[in-house]
């Protein structure tokens, strides 16, 4: 079964499985354990114009079926990325997505402009939804008008495909998705982590150095599916879904909710090879549930279509 995915501006994934930003470094870290070129793509760690130090430790905490993190987007900045990390990425035979972050509209524009001519980068993921930074970032992600202006700024400096990663931490995430599509976004990625808190009983204080954190893992899969479902039915552009994916069956749920591709993250920490296993199993799972192509599964749940072709009401 052909698993390739055609996305806007000529971007083609060899399969719909992309390593999620923040869980896969800048590519070489997992290359000892994962055949990176088998993946549909990788979204690298968020890149800001200048280095960001990130939040104080502890930065991770286990929760039931979830992982709470407060990394704070530590990264070496645009210049170091171009000098030290881009050369490896140029050697890859898979789609490389640059996740870009900033405190201001101008900073997002700076990173996109700085990477526009970098051949290692095939697309952008504009991160306006990380719950672990105070200034910028999520303040754009929760305001459709501000999100629109970030997207316009990025669009003004690049003709590469751009997706915007939206936040689940608001009542109506689709308003931001609609606004960034209006601003020129080619795709939406959803969702970023769900804001949360854990308490360390022994130390009598929040478990994470950053106080609150972003929840990922299977605990958030239903939240993610609902957001993908709402957005994919409202916008005309492709949606890349993510949140707690652990299996090919989980991928199919996201496809049927309306995603055209997915990102996989937290599970990689436990099972570095799980993304490859999902790629191997996905054709079998699609066939098992009666789909003759990947395309056929996208949005299949919208009309309650069953495997024998009968249509439910909507």
């Amino acid at each position: 079964m052909d698993l390739s995915v055609r996305l806007p501006r000529g971007l083609t994934l060899k399969n719909p499985i992309i390593a999620a930003s923040g869980t896969f470094g800048f590519g070489p870290e997992y290359a000892r354990f994962v055949q990176v070129n088998r993946l549909g793509g990788i979204s690298v760690k968020g890149i800001s114009p200048e280095p960001w130090r990130g939040n104080p430790p502890p930065r991770v905490w286990e929760t039931p079926s979830g992982l709470l993190n407060s990394i704070g987007l530590q990264n070496p900045g645009l210049t170091t990325f171009l000098e030290e990390d881009a050369p490896f990425l140029r050697t890859l035979d898979t789609v490389v997505i640059a996740n870009i972050i900033g405190h201001t509209v101008e900073e997002y524009r700076t990173v996109a402009a700085g990477l526009q001519n970098e051949p290692a980068i095939h697309a952008f993921e504009v991160n306006i939804s990380c719950p672990n930074i105070k200034a910028g970032g999520i303040t754009f992600g929760h305001d459709p008008d501000a999100a629109y202006h970030v997207m316009r700024a990025v669009r003004s400096v690049t003709d590469k495909p751009v997706m915007v990663k939206v936040s689940p931490n608001m009542a109506d995430p689709w308003t931001v998705a609609e606004a960034v599509v209006e601003g020129g976004a080619d795709m939406i990625s959803a969702i970023n982590t769900v804001i949360g808190l854990a308490i360390d009983l022994k130390r009598r204080r929040p478990a994470l150095g950053g106080t609150t954190g972003g929840l990922s893992g299977p605990a958030i899969k239903p939240i993610a599916l609902r957001v993908v479902w709402e957005i994919a039915q409202r916008v005309s552009v492709p949606v890349i879904g993510m949140g707690g994916i652990q299996s090919a069956e989980d991928v199919l749920e996201f496809l049927m909710a309306g995603a055209r591709a997915v990102m996989v993250g937290t599970i990689t920490f436990q099972f570095p090879q799980r993304m490859e296993e999902i790629i191997d199993r996905l054709p079998l799972v699609l066939a098992h549930y009666g789909f003759r192509s990947l395309e056929e599964a996208v949005g299949a749940a919208w009309t309650s279509r069953t495997a024998d072709g009968a249509e439910g009401g909507e």
Binding site: P57, I71, Q74, T266, F269
Partner: protein, 262 residues
């Protein structure tokens, strides 16, 4: 180099209350070095990093001394010989080999003792200058591997806070005495952050290298997620630089760490 593999447990020994040592076997473990660790799959959301307590390169065997602190380590402590562990190993920057002609002080606190034993096991036989192992814990039950050190030719100095084994007090007293006698000594230490901060302070005047093996809550274990950081130098106006325990460490030189932020 490191690999992802399943290794059989060839021995499991309850070494102290709430402490179990598992020995696993795999050819990749021949490459393991003292101070490095294995990232072990458990039923939780994250693997558990455990330093090597002993390494047998000929047989490809390594020891993992686990202290039960939560559900993941409790699960590990229940494993038996014949079962398999799914590990990423060997990982991280281990200890730099000691200068065999320079006095050598090993300082271990509680579950920080095992990586120091693996260092002594590896480099002790060639060591020509005086050497000393100072092992500390809150109480006698927390002193691990004292018999292993003794069996490998080094009678350790013990210190417990309640006085139930060795001297009453912490490892700092014996360390100060040894550094006074051998100011050129090289130091290797592993233990709780409070102990390492004291070792770092006491050893500040020493002329030899001071290597400290750090612990932190860890995500991927291979350098990708930036979860397991510790405050490091240089410290700028806004604070320290954060470095990864899993790949920049676990072993750091004293000067690399920003102790006032830890």
């Amino acid at each position: 180099m490191a690999g992802a593999f399943k290794a059989p447990i060839v021995a499991a020994l309850a070494v102290a209350p709430r402490h179990v040592e598992l020995v696993i076997e795999h050819p990749e473990l021949s490459m393991a070095a003292p101070g490095q660790f294995a990232h072990i799959l458990t039923p939780g959301m994250l693997r558990r990093p455990v330093s090597f307590s002993r390494i047998d390169p000929q047989r490809g065997r390594a020891g993992l001394l686990v202290q039960v602190v939560g559900q993941g380590t409790a699960w590990l402590a229940e494993r038996s010989p014949g079962e398999w562990l799914d590990v990423l190993a060997p990982l991280g920057r281990g200890f730099q080999a000691p200068d065999p002609a320079r006095p050598w002080i090993l300082v271990g606190g509680g579950v920080g003792i095992p990586p120091l034993y693996s260092a002594w096991e590896r480099w002790g036989p060639q060591h020509r200058a005086p050497a000393c192992a100072i092992l500390g814990a809150r109480e006698a039950d927390g002193i691990l591997m004292a018999g292993d050190f003794q069996g490998a030719g080094l009678l350790p100095v013990l210190a417990t806070e309640d006085g139930s084994a060795g001297r009453r007090g912490t490892v700092v007293g014996p360390l100060e005495e040894w550094l006074a006698r051998y100011p050129e000594a090289q130091v290797m230490a592993c233990g709780p952050n409070g102990m390492l901060a004291q070792v770092s302070r006491v050893a500040a005047g020493a002329t030899g290298p001071v290597q400290l093996a750090m612990e932190q809550r860890m995500g991927c274990g291979i350098g990708a997620c930036l979860a397991c950081v510790v405050p490091a130098t240089p410290v700028g106006p806004e604070g320290p630089r954060y470095r990864r325990v899993c790949t920049d460490g676990p072993v750091f030189f004293r000067e690399e760490l920003a102790w006032s932020w830890i």
